[in-house]
């Protein structure tokens, strides 16, 4: 039972992460492989601040703010260009973040990480087990709802218009630069929120939980489930978290199992693009949309 609760809490955290990336990949048409970096920034900020006596919810807000600033900064040089430049700069941000977490050992504890993060408590009631699961579920449902509202707002409509025809948006006098920066900032803040949840749940953070393979995993959740829908990433997160649990029942040598899982991720990425580019729950777009952008 403990194990099921653990899986469900992890699922909730990844649902938030996948939704945050879907805002960029699915709705704004901006690729990013830095989501785990913002996840990490949120986790480390709230971990370090709560350990030093800052109230947890203030620390969570601070983490979200830091991640939003970092994330917005990424979009700055990527404004005039998209596609490869954005991909490369986000991979670089991801790797540099991991580098900082590992090498800035005075602050981040290096590769050993930060242990002893206090658990969250609401109205004096500490959250663990089922109560943390309920809290995490409330959070992910809340994020889902906020995103659902956001995407139906004029802002969300404009984001999707920018995805489909960026030059058209510019021609209509829309500020595409501000759109991209704010989309990155919002996405980073949400990922950081998931990071804070993770830090307070596991009570221990280390750089390996926030490296590029996590970013690839989150991208895969979005692409598999269906970029550009909100249900898609939820399904993607559930499927891809179930996969390693299923692989556990296959007897394999220790190192090979991990490599095989990554191999499966690579195969799924390619297969999705070939077989069902819109993802499992996605809508098929018209043939000419997005080819030239």
């Amino acid at each position: 039972m403990q194990y099921v609760i653990h899986l469900l809490i992890t699922l909730n955290i990844y649902v938030i992460l996948a939704i945050s990336l879907d805002l960029l990949v699915g709705f704004a048409g901006l690729i990013s492989l830095a989501q785990a970096a913002f996840f990490g920034v949120g986790a480390y900020t709230s971990a370090l601040m709560t350990i030093n006596g800052v109230p947890p919810f203030v620390a969570i807000a601070a983490g979200m703010f830091c991640a939003a600033a970092l994330s917005g900064a990424i979009a700055l040089p990527a404004l005039r260009v998209r596609g490869i430049h954005l991909l490369i700069i986000t991979i670089a941000v991801q790797i540099v973040t991991t580098l900082l977490l590992v090498n800035w050992a005075d602050v981040t504890g290096g590769s050993a990480g930060v242990p002893g993060i206090p658990r969250l408590s609401i109205f004096g009631m500490p959250l663990s087990g089922v109560s943390f699961l309920s809290f995490a579920t409330v959070c992910s449902v809340f994020v889902y709802f906020v995103m659902w509202r956001l995407l139906r707002s004029p802002y969300g409509k404009l984001l999707q218009a920018m995805r489909d025809d960026e030059i058209g948006c510019v021609a209509l006098g829309k500020n595409v630069a501000a759109m991209k920066i704010s989309a990155f900032a919002v996405s980073g803040a949400i990922a950081a929120f998931a990071g804070s949840l993770y830090a307070h749940y596991v009570t221990y953070v280390d750089p390996r939980s926030f490296d590029i393979s996590i970013s690839i995993l989150i991208l895969l959740m979005v692409m598999l489930g269906g970029a550009g829908t909100l249900r898609g990433p939820v399904l993607g997160a559930a499927l891809l978290l179930a996969l390693p649990e299923l692989l556990k029942f296959v007897p394999l040598p220790l190192g090979v199992g991990a490599a095989l899982r990554q191999l499966a991720y690579g195969l799924i990425l390619v297969l999705v693009v070939f077989v069902r580019p819109e993802g499992l729950l996605g809508h098929r777009r018209t043939a000419d949309a997005g080819t030239s952008a």
Partner: protein, 292 residues
């Protein structure tokens, strides 16, 4: 050793790694320029070539030229195969940019982890032996025949490539297709054929870089993403498709990284590379030598 002696060592070392970076980047840059494909699997092809070379030279014990021939064949097959099996079909389906990037990331991961399963996480290293005896131990320790071999062969490869591009009909066709595929097609150039030639050239160009890495720091499958990241950063800084740009950008990045090691610890190398990339993207998004 004095502080300036250390600096001299680091600059020589940076120049040598810069040459390797330039060799990493040139294949990526050409593919991106001519076929408009972001060939992330380039890093996987490079690691595969290095490991095949190790397999032949380090394990089977064949002479180096035969090993290099085997690595060329392996790189060609893998690079060409990725293009034919993944990039070309997706282009024909008019897959959007997001799909292309995702698929090439997937291809990289597939190659990378197949190699992990085949060769293990540690990868392979070969000892360059007598090539690593310093020429001038009192002045610059890292200046050895190996370093000179790297610089000279990089110079030769880049000179040959420039000559090929400007003085042969094949190179001129490649330039024509890269600059204006529609016009090139109207003029009767076989665009698909030219794209295939470029893919093969790009695949062959990984072999020098792969062998230098094998004899220097070693080739580890797990570094494939890091390798293609450096290749892409150098290609972006140098400018898409620019041969001289790749060379200059590679050396700039190599020397800057080494200079960082002088001030900070070695773990911070990538930070300076990233800062250069950020500055270039802010002020010269088409790269130092790129045509707008």
């Amino acid at each position: 050793m004095t502080s300036y002696g250390l600096l001299a060592n680091l600059i020589v070392d940076g120049f040598v790694s810069g040459c390797i970076y330039a060799m990493l980047a040139i294949g990526f840059s050409l593919t991106w320029w001519v076929s408009n494909v972001v060939h992330l699997a380039h890093g996987g092809v490079l690691v595969a070539a290095g490991l095949v070379l190790y397999l032949f030279v380090g394990i089977f014990g064949v002479p180096l030229p035969i090993g290099i021939a085997a690595a060329l064949i392996a790189a060609g097959v893998l690079g060409f195969g990725t293009d034919r099996l993944i990039y070309q079909p997706l282009k024909e389906r008019r897959t959007d940019e997001m799909g292309m990037l995702t698929a090439s990331l997937g291809a990289l991961i597939i190659i990378e982890y197949s190699l992990v399963i085949a060769f293990g996480l540690d990868g392979a290293t070969l000892d360059a032996g007598a090539m690593r005896t310093p020429l001038a131990p009192s002045v610059v320790l890292v200046l050895d025949p190996f370093a000179i071999a790297v610089v000279v062969s990089t110079g030769l490869v880049f000179a040959a490539l420039t000559g090929f591009m400007h003085f042969t009909v094949y190179g001129k066709r490649i330039q024509a297709v890269a600059q204006n595929p529609d016009l090139a097609g109207v003029l009767g150039i076989d665009i698909v054929g030219v794209a295939r030639q470029t893919t093969l050239i790009a695949a062959f160009l990984v072999v020098p870089a792969a062998s230098f890495m094998l004899y220097n720091t070693g080739v580890r499958p797990i570094e494939a993403l890091h390798i293609v990241l450096v290749a892409a950063i150098v290609a972006i800084i140098g400018g898409r498709g620019s041969i001289i740009g790749a060379l200059v950008a590679g050396i700039v990045v190599g020397v800057a990284e080494s200079a960082t090691v002088w001030y900070l610890a070695a773990g911070w190398r990538l930070l300076i590379t990233f800062l250069i990339l950020y500055a270039v993207l802010l002020y010269r998004p088409h790269g130092l030598f790129g045509r707008v």
